[in-house]
Assembly symmetry: C2
Homo-oligomer: 700 residues x 2
Amino acid sequence: MERPKQSRGRLTGMAALLCAAAATGVMVCEADAQQEGRRRRGGQQEARPIEITPDQVAQLTRIANERKLNVDDLLSAAKTFMPSGKHDEYVLFSSGGQSGQVYAIGVPSMRMLRSIAVFTPESWQGYGFAGMNDPVHESLKINGHPVLWGDTHHPALSETAGEYDGEFLFIGDKANARVAVINLRDWETKQIVKNPLTISDHGAAFVTPNTDYVIEGGQYATVLGYGYAPIEEYKKHYRGMVTLWKFDRAKGKIDTDKSFAMELPPYWQDLADAGKGASDGYFFINSFNVEMATGGVERGNPPFEAGASKRDMDYLHIVDWKKAEQVFKAGKFDTINGFPVISLATSIAEGLLHFAPEPKSPHGVDVTPCGKYMVVAGKLDPHVTVYSMEKIKRAIETKNYSTTDEYGVPVLDFDAVKEVQVELGLGPLHTQFDDKGYAYTSLFLDSAVARWSLGGDYAKLHKEQPWKLITKTSVHYNIGHLSAAEGDTVSPDGRFLISMSKWSVDRFLPTGPLLPQNFQLLDIGEPGTAMPVIYDMPFPVGEPHYCQMIKADKLKTWTVYPEVGFNPHTMRLDPNSPRKGDEGVTREGNKVLVKMTSIRSHFKPEHVEVNEGDLVTWRIVSLETTMDATHGFCIGGYNINLSLEPGEYTEFSFIADRPGTYPFYCTEFCSALHLEMMGYLHVKPKSGVVGPVYGPVSGK
Amino acid sequence: MERPKQSRGRLTGMAALLCAAAATGVMVCEADAQQEGRRRRGGQQEARPIEITPDQVAQLTRIANERKLNVDDLLSAAKTFMPSGKHDEYVLFSSGGQSGQVYAIGVPSMRMLRSIAVFTPESWQGYGFAGMNDPVHESLKINGHPVLWGDTHHPALSETAGEYDGEFLFIGDKANARVAVINLRDWETKQIVKNPLTISDHGAAFVTPNTDYVIEGGQYATVLGYGYAPIEEYKKHYRGMVTLWKFDRAKGKIDTDKSFAMELPPYWQDLADAGKGASDGYFFINSFNVEMATGGVERGNPPFEAGASKRDMDYLHIVDWKKAEQVFKAGKFDTINGFPVISLATSIAEGLLHFAPEPKSPHGVDVTPCGKYMVVAGKLDPHVTVYSMEKIKRAIETKNYSTTDEYGVPVLDFDAVKEVQVELGLGPLHTQFDDKGYAYTSLFLDSAVARWSLGGDYAKLHKEQPWKLITKTSVHYNIGHLSAAEGDTVSPDGRFLISMSKWSVDRFLPTGPLLPQNFQLLDIGEPGTAMPVIYDMPFPVGEPHYCQMIKADKLKTWTVYPEVGFNPHTMRLDPNSPRKGDEGVTREGNKVLVKMTSIRSHFKPEHVEVNEGDLVTWRIVSLETTMDATHGFCIGGYNINLSLEPGEYTEFSFIADRPGTYPFYCTEFCSALHLEMMGYLHVKPKSGVVGPVYGPVSGK
């Protein structure tokens, strides 16, 4: 054999090291040490104030002119660019829309940091690719059927005293009326609950100020409990609902036994927001289609879009959840599909539910940080309507009703509860807040964000007239939600605001008939009235609805699992996890148990022999303890892929029903010898050797 | 009822318009006109050369100091920032690794533009969520089982005369040995072929210069045809392979009937590259584990990582594919699992296959743009080895063999075919090229990109000594592949290079134990030797392997489908597509046919009534013809979600086996009345009304 001519000694030395290391694990340490060194060299250094020399200005000018940038572009670039290794200040947790997932984005760089699989199996994360009885698949069944996607709408960060605490994230699935719990230690989904009353919803998830409850509102009225009734019996048999999922923070899960729902009239309930401060103990839900239109364009009726938009007023639902909790605990509920539901009659009798008129098909209700005001945006009304909690409480106390609705719910007098209406523009949808006494409302039809001044105590924070439009910034195009830094807390940060635009049209290179959405970053922290768009981020993986922005340093993220053998599903050390030395394959009848460890760069065992038809249970643990030393594990052709993060333990099982020779390998590039990190699953056929018989081998 | 106090006339007018529009479709045109106006206002204007005033310099300096940026950061920001509406110059089509998908990224902004679902069902795109017999699911079956994920590795853009032509993209699934065809008209996957010989592979996809063939190389040797043999019979029964998939450009699909494979020795074949220019008609495949190590650390054997790294030399496979095509057409093949395979004996006899020694576990083989040189990077050798096609041809002609391998394949004399070896650093993996006579090689263990000078005719393009290391740039961390602008064509652009780093460690905010990878953008277009990292992009959705960068203006993307009723699966107008006026529900026995149209903002019909147990076939078309006017369509609880892009037709079917009232709705925010774009699927129970019976309704 020929050999390379140069550096023989060096090669031999390296090869020797690799071989020795393979047996001893030394290589891991070597690699880690190198990594550590590199990290230090490449890491952040304390920056000294800079001055830009004339030569450097000339260089900047040349680049700008070559690229046809103007000075505003350079300023925007300077405000958003993140040098290598510098960390973003905020994390935006965004709905991923019909992708079924959640996505985390760094602000101000607007770089997507990671997907988090929630309602849709996702193979990179090994989410739903662990063979038979995969716990993810089990949690995704509805009516016994797998429903392997979701339409994620509204993420809600867990709160303590009205502040994001960085511990948990909740997200609703509109299509299938589910709520998921994500633990922000490891950024993994821990629980999915299916609403037992409705197939689809909309108003989830929203949390109360201490995360006692996760609120899941409905949307399209149905027969509760997955029931059926002809559409002609809409008013009689169809209903809305709101569900209060009790959150057990210690367990990190929703306690379904302590959760309950409330029956609502068959209007289409929309988004919710929980009161805080002055309104603590209440939550608020918008509604539309109080017309109770039932569509039927095919029969010559007005379509839903017209029928549900006829009236000038819909109903803001005002729910006293602390009182409702007492009513539930007192057992004053019915049961539908095995789930406790406080009936409308009980809600009315106990004073849990009041309505206030709200103009024209509202979409968003947003409580100001102090909790004193509720801002409602009726999408077919150019105003936002601001309600006063003080006035609402007084109207409830004094029974200042203008009417009751068809189902007997008292409707508070509009003028008695309204603080003010502020004219902003066409198609107002949602409102966010900053630290300077301003509110920001998205205008769908205007494609703009409006900044307006709050009144009351907020008037002390700014010099504007209260309750007035200050300025607008055009966005591109058709903004839905918007999200400000810590914008749903009792103390928003201001500084940054995201415009979640629904259409991008010409903003980016065309990507086929299906285009990304557009997250535009607005700088709302500059002095003066300007709030320029400083970044356009194509949202490339779904149509997101809402997002929340948390200060990054509030997150106490694990970068490796606390112990080798940790099971992320149970969030504890798994007694079944193999330890170093336990590796092997055992058999009882046709049941085979594999115990495997993985460390750079081999699995142990490297060969697993089973018989066709065996039921194989495979326990695998990563012995790694170094940040980013993730392994993957897949078996080709068997629909199995795991992500084995440092210390992680996983079990999967399958029936080896197809004979053959199946390579398994590490699917996450872990080392220079990553490609060699493989082995074979040998499924011995009942009939003996299968496969082609090769001719006589030539050669030596 | 109360009414809002202001702007009554305006509201009434708008409401009237909405209602009228609903029936006539006028609203669509109105909305489009508004959109068009906005687009013009927000669009790009011709930029005039700028000068940066001292005030503006002060502003930039202030921002830089507040954010602790240095001047290099400002320059990088200016080189990569894209103002709203300005389009990136290049599109990077990247493997999405274990996510199973492809992702498109704009360069230089490094913004992810869109995911393209390939091997994993994806609900935003409605990919694999069309009920029973979904064509995506059918195409993903292996051995009769659904395998609903992939490990995408190497994308390959279609080429004409060695240039990317922007028409198609191919991508391989390492885990399950599949190749997918994506049409770049609509950016959708049109075909998935499963390799009939091996369960997993690695070396896919690579194309010949006119895309005659898509090359799929193997990786871990198995018994071809999904066969079984004990590992002890490795040398006798295990084999490698390479498959040549014939591409039919007119049909936009691989023609499996005209495709064939070649048997290879049971080394682990790795990546491939097709010859061009001087080497047109050949392709080249690396291999490792010519040791034919069979691992077994559990039995005290050296693990694969050590056993497969023992020898100093592996074999570069040199395949004369034009000759192989003739041999195939002449019928000189065997058949394994129904697929034509040219046996090793035939390949040797016909002179289709030669080996050349290559140092130490190579990973990449890359052909220079002119086709004269093959660059091989042996990951355990600090050099790249450059082979000369001229010398290879001469050695083949003169039978200048140093030996034959164990299977009788002639091994060309190393010194006779080697042009040069260039010492670069530790862990060289892959090589790319620019327009100035330089090559760029990734160094995994050094975590660096090396620029080195080419020789031969390339020496005229630069002033350096030929075949010399020029400079290195540190990357973060553990770079695998790298990709230069138009880097695999006969005329690379230079300018930009992506370092696809495998570990990100500390580069970004931690995202749990699972971290993103890091795409770093290097500016290789500046004069001088520096090639700075100018952007760090977290890759948030999988571990990508390779990507290719194409000039954006080569893409002739459709932004709406050519006709209303177009079926993306067949790429033609579908005769089954409903037309306006066809809408309705018909029944034959227990078979129900739904014909539905969708346009902003209603479906027609809005009610679909079926009986429990009916087989429902649902045909739905979007009547939209406006860019970005996408609708979604989902049925809650039934695992169905479609993306109805403008003009798109889709059919799906399901058994209505669960009675109840199921809202369907538009899942892509399309208009101000998007939430009202809904209807009900009523599944009438065999037993009559189900669901709760409500008490007497109070009120009026």
